[in-house]
């Protein structure tokens, strides 16, 4: 097992380097750079040039890349051009809101979607099945920010039972305010996630219910419901867990929108602002960070397979 893990971790290195190279080149080759944004309205051309010089942006691209990878090796993601703060510190500051928002969303979505999908599969073809599928399809059809506005308008403005925006850390301000503030954002974010998982659970449970060992269980006189619980779900787990992995990448995208609408100081907004202001170190650092998280989560998911299916051993 450990050989597999080390092998998998090593195999992430080439991917990360590819990502780093891709992001680095994408930024350098595109028009517009931070120097002119900083120089502001009054600057003359030489001012902009001087600032670019000072930021090291006028060196040849290769030199800049080598310098960046060098600092990367020592775990230093560089310093934000605008705020002067190290990127690692910025990520540290804003990791908690995004992480907790993602976690609450995933748990909420899985807790709702898996039973829904299983029910739809168990009663496949019935009204419930069609309703679940329609809900899951419509989950894919509404943009997240429209969903966010509607929820704010109904629950925060009209009913005034939930706050409009903001994030309260459970560690400093307590669990109550945290859930009080995280409910609407994680509801907005989870709609598309529930749609994805419900559809996948339904598909894999239907497929499992056609397997031979289900027929054997029936031949033992087992009740349909117990068959579903004991034989069905366990075998349907692997594809469902896989889709959760794919969903997480989708989630990171959704976080950017949700954080903007609900004004949560998370990583999503950090990278969005950085892109609009051309803060290269933050963009590079964050995209690397996101891809590392994605690869790490997929490794965890692959390892979780061993718990779900005895046939899978590494």
């Amino acid at each position: 097992m450990t050989r597999y893990i080390t092998m998998r971790v090593l195999s992430t290195i080439p991917v990360m380097i590819l990502v780093a190279l891709f992001v680095f080149l994408m930024l350098r080759l595109a028009p517009g750079d931070p120097a002119s944004v900083i120089a502001g309205d009054y600057a003359t051309a030489e001012d902009v040039e001087r600032i670019r010089e000072q930021l090291g942006l006028s060196d040849p691209i290769v030199v800049q890349f080598v310098r960046w990878v060098g600092s990367l090796a020592q775990g230093n993601l560089g310093v934000s051009i605008f705020s002067g703060k190290p990127v690692t510190e910025l990520i540290g500051q804003r990791l908690e809101p995004t992480l907790l928002l993602a976690l609450t969303t995933i748990t909420f979505a899985v807790a709702v979607a898996v039973p829904l999908g299983t029910l739809a599969a168990f009663r496949s073809g019935s009204l419930i099945d069609r309703f679940v599928m329609l809900f899951s399809v419509s989950g894919f059809s509404i943009p997240a920010f429209v969903m966010g506005y509607i929820l704010i308008y109904v629950f925060a403005m009209q009913l005034q039972i939930l706050p409009v925006q903001g994030y309260k850390s459970p560690f400093t301000e307590g669990i109550g305010p945290f859930f009080y503030h995280i409910t609407l954002p994680s509801l907005t974010l989870s709609v598309i996630f529930i749609a994805l998982i419900a559809r996948m659970t339904r598909a894999s449970v239907i497929e499992v219910l056609e397997e031979d060992y289900i027929r054997t269980a029936r031949a033992k006189g087992q009740s349909e419901f117990k068959i579903l619980m004991r034989h069905g779900l366990r075998n349907a787990a692997v594809p469902v867990v896989t889709v959760i992995g794919i969903g997480i990448a989708l989630l990171l995208g959704g976080v950017v929108v949700t954080e903007s609408v609900f004004n949560i100081p998370g990583l999503g907004r950090l990278v969005l602002d950085a892109v609009l202001a051309r803060d290269y170190p933050i963009i590079q650092g964050l995209i690397l960070f996101f891809s590392f998280i994605y690869i790490f989560i997929n490794l965890l998911i692959d390892l979780s397979y061993t718990l779900l299916d005895p046939r899978i051993r590494y």
Partner: protein
């Protein structure tokens, strides 16, 4: 609807129970906090390194200035106690008032002032002109600073007391020693608030606490001048990327002060009884449509003037700003209501008639080269200006191509003088706050393509008038030169003026003591 309400009480009850423990506002501690939504995200903390207005506002929180503009735009002493000039007007001596202290407890000395003015002098437009006319600037003793001019210069106090970017803030000498093209990293100032560096979350939250040892002046507050008294213990800036959410937060009482709501939201905010909406900056902002004088078709003054005739200010203001309560037309290059505002030569701007513009364009020999307008989609007002100009120029007979981009790309492309084919441009739109275009010294009115504003207008007569203004003494002499500058600006069609508009501020009724001024100050504001 009825069903919904019944369920609402049930839902509220259910939710309230588990959240009771945390949901109630934290116990009202002694400390009062002013929760503010600033007009932009504070990305950078060096008011000399960048001219961004948000960094300037940050500067006013934690630094102090020698002089400061009052409501009538007269420089008043702030850190200076007494000052005198020699008979020939060349030697200026300034003496600092007592009790000036930096946040780290060290007293403010003349050496700090000199170092700060020198760093400011290298980056700010007016500062550069002042330094060009200065022979020497030294600290005579701890409290006295002597400025010796090389020749006659009329704008000494207007320069070191200027209200907008880059403001000559006074920093400790060790900080002012930083190269002006590098960012400072130490944020010690001597202003009424202290910047809490460790609580700063760039892109989201900035925290300032009251500086207990600050000794305010006695005079009453008037714009930037007067006693700067912090009436709250803490000021918290929280940047909101989404206007709708910001408005809702103010209405729900989660925020106290909303610096720049979108004009169109004003009626909604106004309708809420707990919120006051008013215009805080008497001068407002002036919309600009800037031509690139180097490239065809706008290298020809007649073509530029034809374009100006097509620009009807009412349409720009209605389209981009909306509610007429927040804008007015002003056909002077200087903001209406300021000393130099006049209507010499402004008929070209006040025509606003497509047919006349068509005739002028035909007469100008325009050969159909396309006009490339850069449109910043992430700034609503400028995006609207670009679309309106595009339509008006098309109606007038121009070939127009609108290129959408974000503000960052625009700021870098407008610095390029290359032809359109390799990334150049013909027009872009922006706005200046009234204070920045209040007199001919504004870079926006420069006629010298080398050191002037992007667009690089060129007119020798304009430049001689502007230098004359610098040395002009009396008010009517300045007014006369002002009219001359305006006449030249309209003659060469330097830029289109799209009207004067005011961004309101919105705050809850328990917020008191807001200072009327073109720059947003947070001292003197208290919570009832």
């Amino acid at each position: 609807m009825l069903g919904w309400i019944k369920r609402r009480s049930l839902l509220a009850a259910v939710l309230a129970v588990p959240l009771a423990m945390g949901a109630m506002p934290t116990v009202a501690q002694a400390e009062t906090t002013l929760r503010v939504i600033p007009h932009a995200d504070l990305k950078n903390l060096d008011p000399i390194w960048t001219t961004a207005y948000i960094t300037r506002n940050h500067g006013y929180m934690i630094y102090d200035t020698l002089f400061a503009m009052d409501e009538d735009f007269k420089p008043q002493p702030q850190m200076v106690d007494t000052w005198s000039t020699s008979d020939d007007g060349l030697v200026w001596t300034f003496v600092l008032r007592d009790g000036l202290k930096f946040h780290d407890g060290a007293p403010v000395t003349a050496t700090d002032v000199v170092a700060s003015l020198e760093r400011w002098g290298k980056r700010d437009g007016m500062g550069q002109q002042l330094m060009a006319n200065t022979a020497s600037l030294e600290a005579q003793d701890d409290k006295t600073v002597v400025l010796t001019l090389a020749n006659e210069y009329g704008l000494v106090l207007e320069s070191i007391g200027k209200i907008s970017s880059n403001v000559p803030f006074i920093m400790p000498a060790r900080v002012a020693a930083t190269d002006p093209f590098e960012q400072i990293t130490d944020f010690t100032g001597s202003g009424p608030f202290v910047f809490e560096a460790d609580q700063w979350v760039p892109g989201s939250k900035v925290v300032y606490t009251k500086f207990a040892d600050y000794v305010p002046r006695e005079e009453p507050v008037s714009a930037a001048s007067g006693g700067k008294i912090a009436k709250v213990d803490k000021v918290e800036w929280t940047y909101f990327p989404d206007q709708t959410t910001a408005m809702n937060a103010l209405m729900a009482g989660e925020i106290d002060f909303f610096e720049a709501p979108a004009n169109d939201l004003a009626p909604l905010l106004d309708a809420n009884p707990d919120i006051t909406v008013e215009v805080n900056d008497p001068l407002g902002n002036v919309g600009f449509a800037r031509f690139n004088h180097l490239l065809p078709p706008f290298d020809n003054a007649e073509v530029r003037r034809a374009a100006l005739m097509a620009m009807k200010q009412e349409d720009y203001m209605a389209g981009a700003v909306g509610d007429p309560a927040f804008w007015k037309t002003c056909h002077s290059v200087f903001p209406c209501g300021t000393p130099l505002d006049n209507d010499v030569g402004s008929d070209v701007m006040s025509t606003g008639d497509i047919d006349k513009a068509k005739e002028a364009l035909a007469a100008s020999g325009y050969d159909g080269t396309p006009v490339v307008i850069m449109q910043p989609t992430d700034i609503p007002i400028l995006s609207a200006f670009s679309l309106i100009t595009a339509e008006k120029l098309r109606d007038t007979g121009f070939e127009v191509e609108v290129q959408a981009m974000d503000w960052s790309t625009l700021t870098s492309r407008r610095a390029l003088r290359d032809p359109v084919a390799d990334g150049g441009w013909n027009m872009f739109h922006t706005w200046w706050i009234g204070a920045d275009v209040i007199d001919p010294m504004a870079i926006a009115f420069s006629g010298n393509p080398e050191a002037g504003w992007f667009g690089w207008a060129e007119d020798a007569e304009l430049e001689t008038a502007r230098t004359a203004f610098a040395v002009a003494g009396s008010a009517d002499e300045k007014a006369e030169i002002g009219a001359k500058v305006q006449e030249r600006l309209w003659a060469i069609g330097a830029s289109g003026h799209l009207g004067q508009f005011f961004t309101p501020v919105a705050y809850r009724n328990n917020v008191k003591g807001l200072i009327k001024s073109p720059v947003q100050f947070f001292w003197n504001i208290g919570l009832e």
